[in-house]
Every structure is written in structure tokens, then in C-alpha cells.
């Protein structure tokens, strides 16, 4: 008896549709976000994460309407990220019904944003997303879908974000994202062991054993996946049953 490890389906949303790409390119349509959110809720998802990957800032309000509609029907935690640049963006997403807001590129451009947002709304609703790529012996933080290096060491960066008030780290391996080869377990473990806040492993899930590995070997507190769920390969419930059979405590 104790805290369950979480399974978090992730919905990449653009122009009001859920899409999924490989290494952040070649997007494929996966359906209506509200329908998909309800389906995952029915299947026992522990949380849902929405990443707004809309390119143009003109279309940003679309995600607010989607979150509003999901929040009126789905009573589990909702995290929303993508395009969060100011404390005002955090406020708008929380008011629309998000429980947590994920900050990525803007945390690098302006680390004080994390401190300000956490100070105003509490660490519990500030997630910092880190996109990392293997470089030499370590991992470097990248932005712009893995195209732009930052020179920041991923482990150091995670520690710094925790100290500024991040309540959780969403860690994506850019080497693995969309590959279905499994999480970068060494990266996940290094970051998870380096911080005291929960770490969500992301990037590379291709089968259910990968989820088990993310928890057991990667020391992740939660696992995030998209395509294995979107195309009906596995349900969230099947994933949880598999994890439970492998000795991982989950909410069934």
C-alpha cells in the first residue's frame, strides 16, 4: 500500500486536433482531443498532458477552449504546455481548467519565469519540461523540437529548475522520442536521482515493458506515452495491468 506510479497519456495538439510525429516532425492525425481525453479517462489514466504545438500564436486560444471543455468532463489532473511565455499565460491556462502548466523553452530564455509562476501559483502547478539529447558523456538541453542546443547540462538544469520552484520535471529524450525503442533509461535515472521532485519519463515508448523499465530502471515517478495509446495498440488499463503484474503499484 502506498503511492501509485502514474501513467500519463500525452496529447500533442495543433489546430484543435491531436497529432503525433516522429522526432517532432512528420505529424500524423490521431483524432479529436476531447474524445481522446474522455477515452483515456475511462481507461483509468492518472493524469492527462496536453502539449500545444500550434505554430502560430494567433491560434493559441484554441487550446483554452479545449481545456475548458475537457475540465468540465474529466476529473483527473490536467497538465498543459506549449507556448507558455509569461505568468499571464500560466494564469490563463489555470483559469481554463489546467491543474499544472508545463514550461519549456521560456524557462531557458527566462528562468525567473519559473520562480515567478511558482511564487504566484505554487510549485504544485509548475512543471518544467526538459528536452535532452545525449552529447558526449552527458546530456544537453535542446529547444525547438531538438534542433537548437543550449549548452546546458540536463542534470544541472533539472536541479536548478527545482531550486527555482518547479514542482515536477517532465523529461523527454530527444534521441528516443517517436522511435519506439524505449526510454533513455540512463538519462531518466540520472535526472530522477538528482532531484527531490517527481520526474515523468517521456520519449520512446513502443511497448508495455518499456513502461516497467522506466519505473524500475529509470527510477521515474510517472511515465508518459502517446502513440502506443493513440492508435489503440494498448489501452491505458492494459498498461496498468501489465505494470501491476510486474510488481509496480498502480491505480487500477
Amino acid at each position: 500500500m502506498g503511492l501509485a506510479k502514474r501513467i500519463i497519456p500525452c496529447l500533442d495538439v495543433t489546430n484543435g486536433r491531436v497529432v503525433k510525429g516522429v522526432k517532432f516532425v512528420s505529424l500524423r492525425d490521431a483524432g479529436d482531443p476531447i474524445e481522446i481525453a474522455r477515452r483515456y479517462d475511462d481507461q483509468g489514466a492518472d493524469e492527462l498532458t496536453f502539449l500545444d504545438i500550434t505554430a502560430s500564436s494567433d491560434d493559441r486560444d484554441l487550446i483554452l477552449h479545449i481545456i475548458e471543455e475537457v475540465a468540465a468532463q474529466v476529473f483527473i489532473p490536467l497538465t498543459v504546455g506549449g507556448g507558455v511565455r509569461k505568468v499571464e499565460d500560466v494564469r490563463r491556462l489555470l483559469n481554463a481548467g489546467a491543474d499544472k502548466v508545463s514550461i519549456n523553452t521560456s524557462a531557458i530564455q527566462n528562468p525567473q519565469l519559473v520562480a515567478e509562476a511558482a511564487g504566484r501559483y505554487g510549485s504544485q502547478c509548475i512543471v518544467v519540461a526538459i528536452d535532452a539529447k545525449r552529447v558526449g558523456q552527458g546530456w544537453e538541453v535542446f529547444t525547438h523540437g531538438g534542433r537548437r542546443p543550449t549548452g546546458l547540462d540536463a542534470i544541472e538544469w533539472a536541479r536548478k529548475m527545482q531550486s527555482l520552484g518547479a514542482g515536477e520535471i517532465l523529461l523527454t529524450s530527444m534521441d528516443r522520442d517517436g522511435t519506439r525503442d524505449g526510454f533513455d533509461l540512463a538519462l531518466t535515472r540520472a535526472v530522477s536521482d538528482a532531484v527531490d521532485v517527481p520526474v515523468i519519463a517521456s520519449g520512446g515508448v513502443g511497448n508495455l515493458q518499456h513502461l516497467v523499465e522506466g519505473i524500475e530502471e529509470g527510477h521515474a515517478d510517472a511515465v508518459l506515452a502517446a502513440s502506443v495509446f493513440h492508435y489503440g495498440e494498448y489501452t491505458v488499463r492494459q498498461a496498468k495491468e501489465y505494470m501491476s503484474q510486474h510488481g509496480i503499484e498502480v491505480r487500477l
Partner: protein, 212 residues
């Protein structure tokens, strides 16, 4: 007249709480309010809260809501959620400030030295996610909720009080009180508004509750 007042003192996102209550009580008049008069006149009062308890108390005073919360806790069906539970206590380690002193006990931080699971792996703080809630007493608010159901938690501090006040326990890794019941007060550390079916059932029970 307002049926349910959700006390809004500017700390955290109350929209989720309002949405969940609207879902379980579609007929009720629900107000998210910082007006002490509205709180005073409401039939039922919900006090949520996120963030740091000293800031929450400070904001509560800034809006002049302390008396109204006190009055509600003494006289009508009262539901505290998260910091709304913690603020009922005598004092907290967080900033070492006094609480409202309505429930005897104190609020403590999860001690770093204890945060290991049985395999020796580090347990993270905040305690974030779905944990089991063991019901320690019969109570109307537990109606139709299976014992040891999971609820969604996110907190770094927990309450310590006499067993007589504890309506429920969770373990992380040691057992701690996660629900308190005293007369017309029910208060929980977890977030019923984010706890799926079990959470909605608890909120539904609160709306129906007629404490004697």
C-alpha cells in the same frame, strides 16, 4: 441565497473545485467568492487552498475572511481541501506560523530522513499522485466509497493530530492523517475534485451531508 460558497482568497486554482461541485450538484447555487458576507450566508462552505500555508493565512486576512471561515467551521457543513485542511490546525512548521486552531495538532513537513520506500529508493516530495485512503471511522462523507480507494494528492506538509480526529490515513512511507472529521467539519489533504469517481462521490456526499 448561495447553497455552497467556495472561499476564494487568491491562492490557487478554484475552478476545478467549482467544476466538480457543479457536476455533482447541478441544481445548487455555487459561488466562488472572496466576500465574507456571501460566505456567512451560505448554507455550506468549501475552503480549498494551494501553495504555502503562511501565504494562505495572510491572504485570508487581507480579504477579511478569517472570521467568516471561523464562523463556517463552527456552524455549518464545512469542507476543507489541502491547505483548507492544514489551516484548521494550531500551527505549522512551514514558516512556523499559527493556524486557525480549530483542530488540535500541527502541520509538519515530510522529513527528508524518512523518505525511502521498502526497496531503499528515494521517495519524492511533494507527495504527488494517487494514494490509498484508509477510512478510520464511519462517516457520511465516506458513503459509497470503498475503503482504501485511491485519491489524488499533492503536498509537502501533512497534519499530525489525535487519532480521535482522524477520519482517514494514508502512508508515505509512514501513516499520516489525510482526513479529519469533527462535528460539522470534514477536511481532506487530497483533492476530491481531481480524484475521479471516488472524489466526485465524496463531493456528492458533502452536498447531501446534514451534520447533527
Amino acid at each position: 441565497m448561495t447553497d455552497i460558497a467556495i472561499v476564494d482568497y487568491g491562492m490557487g486554482n478554484l475552478r476545478s473545485v467549482a467544476k466538480a461541485l457543479e457536476h455533482v450538484a447541478p441544481e445548487a447555487v455555487i459561488a466562488v467568492t472572496n466576500n465574507p458576507e456571501v460566505v456567512r450566508k451560505a448554507e455550506r462552505v468549501v475552503v480549498p487552498g494551494q501553495g504555502a500555508m503562511p501565504d494562505c493565512l495572510h491572504e485570508l486576512d487581507r480579504y477579511g475572511l478569517r472570521e467568516a471561515v471561523w464562523d463556517a467551521a463552527a456552524n455549518k457543513p464545512f469542507l476543507g481541501i489541502c491547505i483548507g485542511l492544514q489551516m484548521l490546525f494550531d500551527n505549522t512548521e512551514e514558516g512556523n506560523v499559527s493556524g486557525l486552531g480549530i483542530v488540535p495538532g500541527r502541520v509538519k513537513r515530510f522529513p527528508a530522513s524518512a523518505m525511502k520506500d521498502e526497496k531503499g529508493q528515494k521517495l519524492k516530495v511533494p507527495h504527488m499522485g494517487w494514494n490509498q485512503v484508509h477510512q478510520a471511522m464511519e462517516h457520511f462523507l465516506w458513503k459509497n466509497i470503498a475503503n482504501d480507494s485511491r485519491f489524488y494528492f499533492v503536498h509537502s506538509y501533512y497534519v499530525e493530530t489525535a487519532d480521535a480526529n482522524s477520519a482517514g490515513y494514508s502512508a508515505y512511507p509512514f501513516p499520516f492523517t489525510c482526513a479529519v472529521a469533527k462535528d460539522n467539519i470534514f477536511a481532506v489533504q487530497f483533492h476530491p475534485e481531481k480524484s475521479h469517481a471516488a472524489g466526485l462521490t465524496l463531493l456528492h456526499n458533502f452536498v447531501q451531508w446534514k451534520p447533527v
